[in-house]
């Protein structure tokens, strides 16, 4: 559309991020820095990760990585808890740190003028550096964090969705793989963790090597990269090499676990398999196929059958995680307890149709169009751009990935989807976790 009375500001509307407008540099200590300017926004976003996560936890110390990250946000050697948050909150900024299985992710958001040091205000980069490099591990904050984690674990025990998810991972992954275990840990693993354990985990695994830091927002790329180098360039440390994860075996039988929870109304169901890793050639065909199966429109084919045509569930969808784990490919649903068996039957029917018959050309065209067309929406905010750049760097997709994305998606055929899906979806051998209300029977 033309805009007769509202001239566009040159340079404001941005094309898909690519090598021409994304600065990428690697510091001598191994930190990869990516910056993309967006002067349409007065804000700036920093996102990144360090290669430290649950897979680095010593045997049996589940939750140590997350506990460490929690306490790291509660003060540094030079800043008490109160000082740290006074600096951050007084400028309307925010920051956070959290761990997954493979990485510890960090992020901060503030006004662009507060990214780097100035005479008048504290700097987001300086605060992040202090938190990552010099956490205080004060005893009182450790105990407060422990209490908050244990409270969350108690709450988890009462939530059918979280219980079903946790039980699914326990069924689908062997004990020797970190995905078998909850990243949050368990009361019996959180309670014995000591200050020395937390300090040792930080000392050993938080290091610049392999770290990625992305800045997106209203700041010149060169200025941002220079500020990152000045703040993080002198971090000189190495973490031990990581042992490779064990290969996840295919499920060789049907595994089912039901958990009954008192005083609940809804049943949560998770059904699935370990899926292809992000780097596996099957990943992209399965991603396109999964969109048809359980996402497109209102939850794809699963939503159409189970929600729209049969009215059996408020939500039902499928998710392909990919990642390096490899993550699972699973179907998740929330059912009225009286509809569970019928719902699972319909899920199995849809899965059977999905692997036995190629998706239609119309479905494929719709999904290709959706996946390519949704990029501008996803990249609308600084956070969206930063997340994409992190994903590109982590999976070594190349800075031109977003520009190639539509072509990659268009090249997937119905036959590729079917043959790739058949390698991962096995209707005789799968993991099924159900968390459901306890039906009370009369004593006697």
């Amino acid at each position: 559309m033309s805009v007769p009375n509202q001239p566009r500001t040159p340079g404001h509307k941005q094309a898909l991020p690519g090598p021409d407008d994304t600065l990428r540099t690697v510091l001598a200590n191994g930190i990869t820095v990516l910056v993309r300017e967006n002067f349409a926004s007065p804000a700036v976003v920093v996102q990144g990760y360090v290669e430290a996560g649950a897979q680095d936890e010593p045997t049996g110390m589940h939750g140590l990585a997350g506990f460490t990250a929690d306490v790291m946000q509660r003060g540094t050697a030079g800043r008490s808890f109160g000082d740290l948050y006074e600096e951050v909150e007084s400028i309307g900024a925010g920051f956070g740190l959290g761990t997954g299985t493979h990485i510890a992710s960090f992020g901060a958001k503030g006004l662009a003028e507060d990214l780097a040091n100035s005479a008048s205000s504290p700097a987001l980069l300086d605060i992040l550096s202090d938190v990552l490099r010099h956490p205080g591990f004060v005893d009182r904050q450790i105990e407060k964090a422990r209490t908050e984690i244990l409270t969350d674990l108690q709450e988890r025990e009462q939530e059918t969705r979280r219980i079903a998810q946790m039980k699914f991972y326990e069924l689908a992954y062997p004990e020797a793989h970190p995905y078998h275990w909850s990243q949050l840990g368990y009361p019996e693993t959180i309670e014995p963790i000591t200050r020395e354990d937390l300090v040792a985990f930080h000392e050993t695994y938080f290091a610049p090597q392999g770290m990625v830091l992305v800045v997106v927002g209203g700041i010149k790329a060169d200025d941002a990269a220079k500020a990152v180098a000045e703040t993080f360039g002198d971090w000189d440390k190495r973490r031990p090499e990581r042992a490779s994860l064990i290969e996840v075996p295919r499920l060789d039988r049907r595994l089912e676990q039901r958990v009954n929870l008192e005083d609940k109304s809804q049943t949560s169901v998770v059904l699935g398999w370990p899926g292809p890793a992000r780097s596996h050639p099957d990943f992209v065909p399965c991603l396109v196929g999964n969109n048809i199966l359980g996402l497109f429109g209102m939850y794809g084919r699963l939503g159409l059958s189970i929600r729209e045509q049969n009215g059996l569930a408020y939500y039902v969808y499928s998710r392909l995680s990919g990642g390096s784990g490899p993550g699972p490919w699973r179907v998740l649903g929330g059912f009225d307890p009286t509809h569970v068996d019928r719902g699972i039957q319909l899920i199995m029917d849809e899965l059977r149709r999905f692997i036995e018959t190629p998706v239609t050309e119309e479905e494929l065209a719709d999904t290709r169009s959706y996946l390519a067309g949704s990029l501008p929406l996803y990249l609308e905010t600084n956070e969206g751009v930063a997340r994409s750049l992190l994903n590109i760097e982590r999976n070594k997709l190349g800075l031109d990935y977003l520009q190639r994305y539509a072509t990659i998606i268009r090249s997937v055929s119905a036959e590729q989807i079917q043959s790739a899906s058949q390698r991962w979806i096995d209707l005789d051998h799968y993991a099924l976790a159900i968390a459901e209300p306890l039906i009370e029977t009369e004593a006697g």
């Binding site: 559309m1 949704s374 929406l377």
Partner: protein, 425 residues
Amino acid sequence: MTLTHSTLDNGLQILVQAAHTAPVVSSWVWYRVGVRNEHPGITGISHWVEHMLFKGTERWPAGSADRAIARDGGVYSGMTGLDFTTFYETLPADKLALALDIESDRMQHTRISEEDVASERSIIISERQGCEDSPFFRLSEELTSAAYRVHPYGHETIGYRCDLDAITRDDLEDHFRRYYSPNNALVTIAGDVGDDEALEAAQSAFGDIARGPETPQVRAIEPRQRGERRVVGEGVGETDYVEIAYHVPEARDRDVHALTVLNAILSGGSGFLGGGGHITNHTSRLYRALVDNEVAVDIGGSLTPTVDPGLYRISATVWPSSDAETVSARIEDELARLRETPVAESELAKAQRQARALFAYSSESISNQAFWLGFTRIFADGAWLAGYLDDLAAVTVEDVQGVAQTYLVPANRTTGWYLSRGRNG
């Protein structure tokens, strides 16, 4: 950014805000109907009608609009609140006409069949069951119903189970015919479009729709609360929760700006209109008094702008070795301090800075811009949004103390406790 405004002959208001930061357009249709327009027997009906508007028309049969929007990479959804029901599409900028066509069509031609009502009844009951499994929902439902004696805001958007079992197809049809008409609606469009063209496109899509009946006035006025009310819920688990609510004025009242600043001082700055940003609350008064002192595991406050007088809520998760009574008493200590002593100028300035930053964050996405534009028009005129930051900046320490003395007093309080059997036996 410019704002273009028009009202069609059929009463539909259209607002367009051109914003060229991304090649995206977001279009929202707002109906002035929600919990406020319900009563016992039909609680949850607005939310249910929202579901029925996704069941298709002759031109856009069930699922076809979802697919058409998704095919263009767009998002498409709806939501129901206390005062509104809204449907939105965010799409590539050249697809505005598709969004307007879908919305104009379902405003006129939504079909409500017995079969769809039966299927949607079980979906909505399943949605309510999901809510019921949360202690927060259970506590909130009890607290809200205790806080209101007369006004419809006293029930949750999802409605009571007995009404979800009983509402008929005819009830839904009546509700739809009464409220989902152009004279009770507002269209907001933001994004990479020309404002004149977008306005013309909206006029063309909605201009021929006939006016609907005049909507019934909501006459209920909540009587002044004259003493504390308490509700105690029990349930499974090991964790106790506290939620406290005070009656506060409607969004148009100028005291709401002082209450917004007060909330930031008490419980931290949060984007109360949703989206775009979050600031931790670790330097707020309640965090320091309760979380730092190991009385609560976390604490937060919320103030939702409403057409009629609403509630200011404070909620906390009780620290394992503390109890709900201590949490409630400490919160009251902090409110008494606010009533008795003016806040420091520096605290006021910090809260106002946070509000500015959050406003900047939440204006970043095109969808949020269109949301703000429509949501604020539900309860106020355009001056409310245009003057929002200036009005917050004008709040003084005396204003903050004044609203604390007026509203945050024990006689105006409803206290709710969720006591877990695991902890309390």
